[in-house]
């Protein structure tokens, strides 16, 4: 089983500069474990406290995975995965967003999820 994963610029330090890598897994969760086995540390940038990071978007065949069951989303051979950090920001000063080095680290859910 081979699934292509498109890697955003900011995470290419984990993939030796590669824009796309292959991984496998029957679910997104398994795929991320497979990805992390080949590219140690990348999982930490995608998942926090067992859930997808709030400001990381992952798409399966162009569909936001949050609408497909999040980490439980089922994958098939030939699926295409795209990882994109959110483009977001703003003047909002609250410490809600303000943890140090919090890049891609907020975990507040957005959109429907299976487990909520």
């Amino acid at each position: 089983m081979a699934i292509e994963v498109r890697i955003p610029t900011i995470l290419r330090s984990y993939t030796g500069g590669e824009k796309a890598v292959t991984a496998d897994g029957a679910s997104l969760s398994a795929l991320i474990d497979s990805l992390d086995a080949d590219h140690p540390g990348i999982k930490e940038r995608l998942i926090e406290n067992g859930d997808l990071r709030r400001f990381v978007n992952i798409y399966v065949n162009d569909e936001d995975v949050r609408f497909l069951g999040g980490l439980e989303a089922e994958l098939s051979d030939g699926d295409q995965i795209v990882v994109l950090p959110a483009v977001a920001g703003g003047a909002h000063p609250t410490t809600f967003f303000a943890s140090p080095a919090a890049l891609l680290r907020r975990t507040t859910p957005r959109g429907p999820r299976k487990d909520r």
Binding site: T9, L84, V87, A88, G90, A98, S99
Partner: protein
């Protein structure tokens, strides 16, 4: 230094004024590695907020796929602050994910939707470090040699 043509500069300012008091956001794409902001793309602020912006996730995917097909990258990532100065907030810094881009901030706090000057400033944001850079507004971008 950010070098930007007058028409693109004006388009960013017009967008910020039009959307005030909601934060306006968008991108200026350019050929990969060129550092030339050539293609102005307004984005919808899915947060619709005066203090926060975020691209809709579907719009974001569409934008990045389109840039990929055209061998482009985000050269300028802009947004407005509508009540505070044109300086990256903690939120901006924490969420900045394009270390190669020029982060442009426009503040509309002074004149809002009306005519009048705005603050227009540009920064690089790399690993949480903000560095302001000079902005050169030119009549048109000069043709590259290639």
């Amino acid at each position: 230094m950010l070098t930007i043509d007058q028409a693109t500069y004006d388009a960013i300012v017009a967008h910020a004024k039009r959307d005030h008091p909601v934060e306006a956001c968008g991108i200026v794409a350019g050929p990969e590695g060129s550092d030339r902001p050539e293609r102005f793309i307004e984005m919808v602020n899915a947060a619709g907020s005066p203090t926060f912006y975020e691209y809709d996730s579907t719009d974001l995917l569409h934008l990045y796929k389109e840039m990929d097909e055209r061998d482009e990258e985000p050269v300028v990532i802009y947004h407005s602050h509508t009540a505070t100065e044109a300086y990256p907030s903690v939120t901006d810094v924490n969420l900045a994910s394009e270390p190669g881009a020029h982060y442009v901030l426009v503040s509309t706090r002074e004149h809002g939707n009306n005519e009048g000057p705005v603050e227009f400033r540009s920064y690089s944001i790399v690993d949480g470090v903000v560095t302001e850079e000079e902005v050169a507004v030119v009549p048109t971008l000069t043709r590259s040699e290639s």
